[in-house]
Structures are given as C-alpha cells and as structure tokens.
C-alpha cells in the first residue's frame, strides 16, 4: 500500500519539480522516488497480507512481487531518458509523472480485489500510455501510434466493461472472491450463458491489453510509432501488470469455470505464439521485431495461464512471475540499447546495428545478452522463464501446446540472432561507424541489466519459487 501512496504523492511532487524548469534534477528525483517505492515495496514483502479500501485492494506477496517487477523495470528504464534531459524536453516532468502515475495503475492491477479496481487500474495505465504514445507531437508516426492505441484501446475497454457488466449481472458481485463463490452456486445456473459471455469478453478485453492474438493488431504499429523509451515501458510494465491481473482474475474469480475458459486461452496462446514469432521473422526494423516478439512473449506467458492451478502460487504463478521478470529486464536492455542507437544513428533497422560490437562493445554485449534471454538460451533468465512455464504446462499435461511453443521458440531464435549478427558479424556502414556516446551512468545501468539477466540465468533459484 505504501507504494501506491508514495507513488501518488511523490508523483505529484515530481510534477511540481517541473516548475523549476530544471530537467537535470528530474531524472535523479524520479529515480530516487522509485528507489524509495521499491524499498517500501520490499518492506511489504514480509508483512502479512492486508486488505485496503473496503477490500478493494489486497497487498500480499503476489502483488508485492509483481509490484517489484514493474517498479524495478521502470527504475532501470528511466536512465535511458537522458536524451530528453539533455535536449531540455519541455514536458519532461509531465512524462515522468505520467509514468509514476501509471505505475499506480499497474500496482492496482496486480493487487485488486474488486473489478472496479481492475478497471480503474487498467484505465490509469492505458490513458497514460495513450498520452505518452503520442508524446513526440510533431512526429506523424507517433501521432498515428497514439490514435491507434487510443481508439483500439478504448474499444477494448468497452468490451472489457461489457464483460464485467455481464459477470456482474450473472453473479451480482464485483468482488473477486464473491464472484468466485457465486460461480459455484447452483442457483445461478440459469444465468450461466451470461456469465460465460461475460468471462469471454473479459478475457478478450484483458487479452487486448497484453496483446494476445487475435487482438494484437495494435501492438506492432503502436510500438513502432511510440518513442522507444515509452515503447519499452509499454512492452514491459503494461504486459507484466496485465498478466498479473489476468492471473488474479482467473484464479480468484473464475477457478470454477476453468473447464470453460481454458480451451479459449489455449487457442489464443497458440495463435499468439504463431503470429508473434512468425510475424517477427519478416521484420526489417529491430523495434518492430521487438514488438512482434512482445506478442510472442504474451503467448509464452499465456502458457502460464493454461497451466492454471487455481492458486496465486505454485508453478503457474511462479512461472509467470519469473518469466515477466526476465522478460522485462531483457526487454528494457534491448530497448535501452536500441534507444541509444536510435538517438545517435537515427536508425532502428538491423543494419543500423552493424558493427556496433566494434564501436561500442558494451552496448553490443548487453544487446546480445538481452537477445539471448528473449530467445531463451541458457545462461540467461529467459531460458529459465520458458523452462518454468513449459514445465508447468507439461505438469498439467499440455504436451502438445508445449511442443508447439518449443517449435515457435525455435523460430524465435532465428530473429533474435539477427541483431547479434548485425552487431558482431557485419561491418559498419560509413554513416554508423562512429561510436555512440554512452554516459557512464547509462553504462552502469546497462551492465546491471546484463548482470541481472545472467544472474537470473545462472541462479534462478534466487527468485524462482518465492510465491
């Protein structure tokens, strides 16, 4: 709870800092705020589960863990906004505050107990994202991204709400636990079709937010158009919070109906894997490839939902947690490097990375680690992420799906190798031969990102079973 309050209050404080017109202070301030929040969050770890706001929010280990991921991700992402600081971006304070506020939304999504909080959390997060997607106001691509995201996101919100309404109609409750009991109540059998349609619509609504196929269409376009820094935020924080919310919903509200919704999730999962991976293969832009890859990772995370065990702990929850963590860190690293490259070389295609290993060994190294992690190669966190998720699904007997996922991850290796090839094995063109200036702080953060990824890959036991 402390994190929500701190973020809200300090977010406003940060906004006020903007009045000082001193961009230099903003970044450290934002990072300090996040550090404090992270600390407060960690402090909550050992506290007993606690409900707030008339049982609308529950801070338990599950929420603390996922809050940890989103806060940490943001913390590690922030340094890559240094260019905004340097360029004296006029609205920097607003952007930072938007990120902080959206984190509040994310935290609400991972700790809600009531549909209302879910809705509010999603909207806080989404609306902030609509704004930042279009933050590069004079860039038509950014404009387009914002509009696409906004229109489609609102549309999906409508679907989600309709679903919530139907579920409410069928069960008479917004409280997850009450819905859970009501679903099992035979008295409600006559309303079952309404409930089921409601569940499906909710799945679709949240599925859109986590860019699961066939509701993923926005993802590549929006990620591509959104400034890289914010795209990184979208593909990590939004996705992590989305999956935590998804899991929470299914575990606490609809465990009794699992026979009904699991086939749908399985189908979505397979389709998402297929589209994400196969789509990424044909891309020429690294950023767009990462967008498709984020779709494919949604697919892998859906496997965690397929391996549903009715608890917020155990293989499924732990798998999703570990995967989200590893994925977020690797994605931040990838986008971070990409942003630095883009800032200097103005390119986001594969060839823009050519010869990076020669000019900036650190960037190339971090990018490589990130790619290997996303591809799920051992020694990186991504491997164990996939490992735990696939293991959970195998444990539940979804061998066919896992085999398909494995095949798809083979496809994944294909496109994740391309940046590595560009960086290490291709000579730099003339226009990209100059080294990219990377501040020592950014270098340190990059190193930390790589280190964390490797640490997760070598000692997954540190966080693998904590839920």
């Amino acid at each position: 709870m402390a994190s929500i309050i701190l973020l809200s209050v300090l977010g406003i404080a940060n906004l006020f800092l903007g009045f000082l017109r001193s961009n230099r202070m903003l970044l450290p301030a934002a990072m300090v705020i996040l550090l404090i929040v992270f600390g407060a969050n960690v402090y909550d770890w050992n506290a007993p589960a606690q409900s707030y706001f008339n049982k609308m929010l529950t801070i338990d280990r599950f929420s603390v863990a996922f809050t940890g991921i989103v806060v940490l991700t943001t913390l590690l992402l922030l340094p890559f906004s240094q260019k905004y600081v340097r360029d004296n971006e006029a609205n920097l304070a607003e952007y930072y505050s938007l990120l902080l506020f959206s984190l509040v939304g994310a935290i609400m999504m991972v700790s809600y107990d009531n549909m209302l909080m879910l809705f509010v959390g999603i909207e806080i997060l989404s609306i902030s994202m609509y704004v930042v997607a279009g933050s590069d106001k004079r860039n038509v691509r950014s404009n387009e991204a914002a509009l696409k995201y906004f229109l489609m996101g609102s549309f999906a919100t409508g679907i989600l709400l309709f679903g919530i309404a139907l579920v409410y109609g069928a069960t008479g409750a917004f409280q997850l636990s009450e819905i859970g009991t009501a679903v099992t109540n035979p008295a409600n059998d006559s309303l079952r079709p309404m409930l089921y349609i409601g569940i499906l619509l909710m799945l679709i609504g949240i599925g859109f937010k986590v860019s699961a196929a066939p509701f993923h269409y926005w993802t590549p376009d929006v990620y591509e158009g959104t400034p890289t820094f914010f795209a990184a935020f979208m593909s990590t924080v939004v996705k992590t919070a989305g999956f935590a919310a998804f899991l929470k919903l299914l575990v606490q509200a609809f465990p009794a109906a699992q026979d009904f919704w699991i086939p749908t999730i399985v189908a979505m999962c397979a389709l998402t894997l297929l589209i994400g991976n196969v789509g990424a293969v044909a891309q020429q832009s690294v950023k767009r490839m990462l967008a498709y890859s984020s779709i494919s990772h949604a697919g892998y995370l859906l496997i965690g939902l397929v391996a549903f065990n009715g608890q917020l702990s155990g293989l499924s929850a732990n798998g999703i947690f570990f995967y989200s963590l590893a994925y977020s860190i690797a994605t931040v690293a990838a986008f971070g490097v990409l942003k630095l490259v883009h800032d200097q070389r103005q390119r986001e295609d594969y060839d823009g990375l050519n010869g990076l290993a020669r000019t900036n060994p650190l960037l190339a190294f971090v990018m490589t680690i990130a790619m290997l992690s996303l591809a799920g190669i051992p020694l990186t966190g991504g491997f164990f992420g996939k490992f735990f998720l696939f293991g959970a699904a195998v444990d539940k007997g979804y061998i066919g799906l896992v085999v398909f996922a494995v095949v798809m991850s083979m496809v994944g290796i294909y496109y994740y190798l391309r940046p590595i090839i560009a960086m290490y094995m291709k000579p730099a063109d003339d226009d990209v031969a100059t080294p990219i200036a990377v501040g020592s702080f950014q270098s340190a953060v990059l190193f930390v990102l790589a280190l964390l990824t490797v640490a997760l890959g070598v000692l997954p036991g540190l966080v693998s079973g904590i839920l």
Binding site: L116, R141, L151, L161, A165, L166, G169, D221, E224
Partner: protein, 110 residues
C-alpha cells in the same frame, strides 16, 4: 404512489434491459467498424460505454446492490478522462494532417 428509482427501473423486465444494452453496444461496435472519422468512432465507443452503464444500472437495480451504480460513476469519470486525452490526440492529429480520417493513418504497418 411514489416509487423509488430502482422500483421504476424494475417495472421493465430485466431481459429488456439486457437486450437494449446489447443492442446499444452492438450499435456502438457497428459504428466503430463503419465510420472513418476519428471523432465519430470515439463517440461510438462512448456509446458502447453507455450501454455498459445501462446494463450495470439495471442489474444494480434488480439486485438492489449499489455497487453497480458506483461502478457506473467510475466509468463516467474514466470516460471523461479518456475523452480529454482522446480529443487531445485527435486535435493533434488534425493539426498535423488537417484531417481526422482514421484510414489515412497507415504509415505504420506490416
């Protein structure tokens, strides 16, 4: 005979509300699908949200549970926020393109 609002609502059978809301929602969706002007699409989305509001209110009234109506308030509030952001975006688009036809915006693809 003075009736409370819930009682007034309950004079119509629940199914009607559901059908009505669904129809409204469907109209909204159809609008979203068929129109090309960003503002109108957005308005259609608002229509969808309102359909939800109707539905929630009806359920709330029938179940004598205020939560549903509270939810409606939240939806309205959030919708307001969405409108402000949405209009901002559309204005931005209009400034750059002198147009709000959504299908003109297809630079980002594949």
């Amino acid at each position: 005979m003075e009736q409370t609002i819930p009682e007034v609502i309950r004079t119509v059978p629940l199914q009607y509300y559901v059908f009505f809301a669904t129809a409204l929602f469907a109209i909204g969706v159809t609008g979203v699908l068929t129109r090309r002007n960003a503002i109108i699409i957005f308005m259609c989305i608002e229509l969808m949200l309102n359909a939800v509001n109707v539905l929630l209110t009806a359920f709330s009234a029938y179940r004598a549970d205020p939560n549903g109506q509270v939810f409606v308030f939240f939806i309205m509030a959030v919708a307001a926020a969405e409108v402000s952001v949405g209009l901002g975006i559309i204005v931005m688009i209009y400034r750059n393109f002198q147009n709000t036809d959504v299908n003109l915006l297809s630079r980002l693809k594949w």
